[in-house]
C-alpha cells in the first residue's frame, strides 16, 4: 500500500488534475444542453409556440395577426431570456465551482497533511 503512494500522487498531479479540467468543460456543456442555450439564443425573438395566422386577406385579419404575433414574440422573448439568465447564473456557479476545484485540487493533499500535523501537534 505504501508503495502505491507515489502512483497516487503521480495520478493526482497528472491525469487526475487533467480530468478535473475536462469535467469542468463537460459540466458547462451539460448545463448548456439542459437549458437549450444554443436553441434559445437562436430563437430568442421567435414567437412563443409558433406564428399565429388568421385565414382571410382582410386588413383587419392581418393587423390582428401582426398584433398577436408581436405579443407572442414578447412572451417568447421574456420566457427565453428568463431561462437564459437562469442558465447563465447556473453556468457561472458551475464555472466558479470548476475553477475552485482546479485551483484547490493540487492543494488538497498538502491541506490534509497540514491539518493532520496541526491535529497532532496542537
Amino acid at each position: 500500500m505504501v508503495m502505491l503512494i507515489f502512483p497516487l500522487f503521480t495520478w493526482w498531479y497528472g491525469q487526475g488534475w487533467l480530468q478535473v479540467a475536462r469535467n469542468f468543460g463537460i459540466s458547462l456543456a451539460r448545463v448548456s444542453h439542459i437549458f437549450s442555450v444554443p436553441i434559445l439564443l437562436r430563437t430568442l425573438w421567435a414567437p412563443w409556440r409558433r406564428i399565429i395566422t388568421y385565414p382571410g386577406a382582410s386588413i383587419d385579419a392581418k393587423l390582428r395577426a401582426l398584433g398577436d404575433n408581436l405579443v407572442s414574440r414578447c412572451i417568447g422573448f421574456t420566457v427565453r431570456i428568463m431561462v437564459l439568465i437562469t442558465a447563465a447564473i447556473i453556468l457561472l456557479l458551475v464555472a466558479i465551482w470548476g475553477v475552485f476545484c482546479i485551483v484547490v485540487w493540487p492543494l488538497l493533499p498538502f491541506l490534509a497533511a497540514g491539518l493532520f500535523i496541526k491535529g497532532i501537534v496542537g
Binding site: L8, H33, F35, S36, V37, T53, V83, L115, G119
Partner: protein, 790 residues
Amino acid sequence: MNQSSTIDLTSLRARKARLAKRIGKTGYEVLVVLVIAFCILGVTTYYFEMTRLPFLSVAAALFCFIWALWYKRDLAVLAPSGTSMTDRMSGEVLARLRPNSALTPRATWQALRTHWQVLFLTNHFLFDGTIIENMLSEQESDMDAVWAEAERLSVTSPKGLVEPGYVAAALLKTSPMVSQYLTQIKLSKDDVDAMAGWLERVLEAMNAEKPYFGGIGRDWANGFTPRLNQFGYNISLHIEQQGGHFGWLTESAGVAALKGAFAQGASTVALIGEPGVGKTSHVNALAQLLLQEKNDRNLEHRQIVALNPSAILSAARHPGELEDIVMTLLSEASHAGNILLFLDEAQLFFRSGPGSFDMTQILLPVLQSRSIQMVVAMTPHDYQWLRANNPGFANLLTPVMLQEPPEHDVLRILEDAGLGMEHSHKVLVSYEAIREAYRLSGRYMQDLAYPGKAIQLLEQSLSHSVHNGIIVPESVQQAIEQSQGVKVGTASQAEVDTLLNLEDKIHERMINQSQAVKVVASALRRARAGVANPRRPIGSFLFLGPTGVGKTELAKAVAATYFNAESNMIRLDMSEYQRPEDVQRLLSNGSDESRSLIMAVRQQPFSVVLLDEIEKAHPNILNLMLQLLDEGQLTDTGGRPVSFKDCIVIATSNAGANTIRERVSRGESMESFQNELTDELIDNGQFKPELLNRFDEIVLFRPLTPEELGQVVILMLQGINKTLAQQNIKVELTPAAVQKVVSVGYDPRLGARPMRRALQRSVEDGIAGRILRGETRPGDTVVLDEADLA
C-alpha cells in the same frame, strides 16, 4: 517475477489493478461513508470547541476523499496506458491473475471464470465452465497464442482494453481440445468470434454516453399539437423518455437513405419493404437520430408522430367528421413546424375498408404543397397497387426501398432482441437458439421478411423454455412446430415407430400397391431424417395407373400419416387448367380475390399437393411444374416466391392405363415394362422427358384383383361401421356377401370406385330400412349374407 512474453504481472498497472480489486465497490462506499462521518465529526467537535479533533477529523475526511477519488477515477477505470499488452489489459484481468504462480491457460480460466463477461460466454453457449477448464493446457508457453488472439479480438473494444471476455474467447479458440469439443457440439471458432462480437456490443451499450435530446427549450418555437397528441403516438417523445436504444440501427444504410431523401428536399418518403423487414424500427431509429444529432435545417429537432387510424376512425361519427379530423391533424402538423408524420401500414390510409379509410384525396393537395413532411410505410405489393390505381398520388412519393439485411446484421439484431427478452422475461436465450431461430424462420416463415420473422419465432419460443427459463434450440423447434405444423426436431420415439412402420400404417387404409407404398414411405423417411435435398419438395411422385386403383387414396393416406390430417392436402384437377390464361389462376397472389395453388400452399405449406390428371394441363402449366419440382418454389403474380420445399407433390395420370391393364393381365410384373411404358408416354407426346425426369419416382399402379377388391369391401365396411358406431350398431358381411358386392360392383375399367355405390345399395340401404322398422336396435350386430343384400 512472473512474466510471459507479453504480460507483466508485477508492473505498476497490475499492482494498481490488484489494489482496486481489494478496495472494491464496497471499500469505495465505505470510504464515502467515512468522508461524511469524519466531516460530521469535525463539525461537531469544532462546535464543542475541541482543539485538535476537528483538524484530525477533517484531515481524515480529506485522506479518505483523496483515496475514494483515486479509486473511482483511476483504479476502477484503469484506462489503457500504452500499446503493450500489459498497458491494454483490463484491470479486471490483471487483478485476478496471480504474479507468483504459473500463468497457464487453465490457471487463467480458473482465475477468470466467475467474471460476468466469462459467464456471459459460457451461459449463452450453455457450457459447463468446469468441463472447459479440464480441457485447457497447463503449459505456460501456450499463453503467448492466447494473448495474441485476445489482442486481435480486442481491436474494436469500446474502451480499447483487452477485456476478460476476450481472454476467455481466446482461451476457447486456441485450445485444440476445446476446438474438438466445439465441433462435437456443432459449434466452431467462428461462433466464438460471433460471441465475442456480441459481448463487444453489450460493452458498447454499457459504456455509451447518454444522448442529449435538445433540452427544456427545444420545442418552444414550435406549435402546440393537441389533436396530434390525441390521435397520434409521438415516437420521438417516447425515445426521449426511454433514453434511445436503437444503437447501431441509426447508422444503417436504410436510415441514412431516409434521412438523405429528406435532406435532399423530399417532403413525403414512401418506405417500402416486406412485412418484418423493420420499417417501423427504421423510423424509430430515424427519430432518435433527428433528436440527438446536428441535422440539416429542414430536419433539425423534428419529432416523428405516428398516426393511429383506428383512433381516428372511432372518433369520427360520420364520414364528414373523419375528413375534418384529418384536416385538423394535417393543419396542426404543418403549423407546428417540427412534425414529421408517420403513416405505418399505409394501406390503412389509402384504401377504404374495415379499420381503414381512404385519405388520398385529402393528402394529395398537402403533398403537392410540400407543407408537411411524411413517411408512409408500405409493402412492395401495396406500392404497386398505389401506382396502378392512383399514379398521380404515387408520383408525389419518394420511394426508399428496404431490403432484407444480410445474415450478419440479422443475427446482430436477434442478439439485441434476445438481450431485451432476457431482461423483460427473466430468461436466458442461448446462442444456438438464436442461430436456430434464424435458420428455421428462414425456411418455414415465408410470409415475413428478416429480421421480423426471426424475432417473432424467438418470442414464440418463450413458452417452450427449459430448466427454469433457458431458451435452447429445441424451444425454437417446438415453437415452429406448434405455429407451422411442421416436424423439425428430433423425432420422438412414437414418431420414429410410425416412420419405420409407415407402410403398415398406410396399408391400414388402402389395399396392396405395395411397391407404390414402399417408394413413398422411403421418401418420407429420408426427409424426416434430414437426408433429402432441402431445396426441393420432400418428395415428388407421378402415379400412373387405371382409375379407381388407389392413387388418390395413397395421397390421402400420406397426408393423414405424415402431416397428421387428411385435410392437409391441396387437390387440383388439372383438367381445369387447359387454357394458357389458366397459368395466372394458378399463380394468383390473391389480389384479384381468386383462390390459387400459390395461396393454398402459402396458407398450408406442409401439405400433400395432389395434381390430378396432370397430362390434361396446358403445356405452359407443365413448364411451371419443371420449376416447382426442380427448385421447390414458384413465384406468384406479385413477384413473391412461395416455397414448396415442405410439400409432397403427387401427380396422377391415367395415361398408359390400357397398357398397364394389358401387360398385367398377361402376367407381367410392372417393373419389367415400366421403362417401356415411360418411352411410350414420351413417344405419344403425353409427357415431355424433362418433366418425367424431374419426378423422384414414377410409380405404376396395377389393376386390383378380385381378392383385393374383397379387401377393399372390408375396408369400406369399416368406414360404414365407424358411422354406425354412434348408434352402437355393427354390420358384418359373410364371405359370400363380400363376393356378391365385388361381383356387382367390379368394373375393370372403373376400378374400385363402383364398390362404394354397390355397398351403398346393398348394405347401407338395407341397414337404414332395418333401423327405421325397429328390427335393429343399439347394441346389435347385423350379419348380412348374400341373400340379405339388395
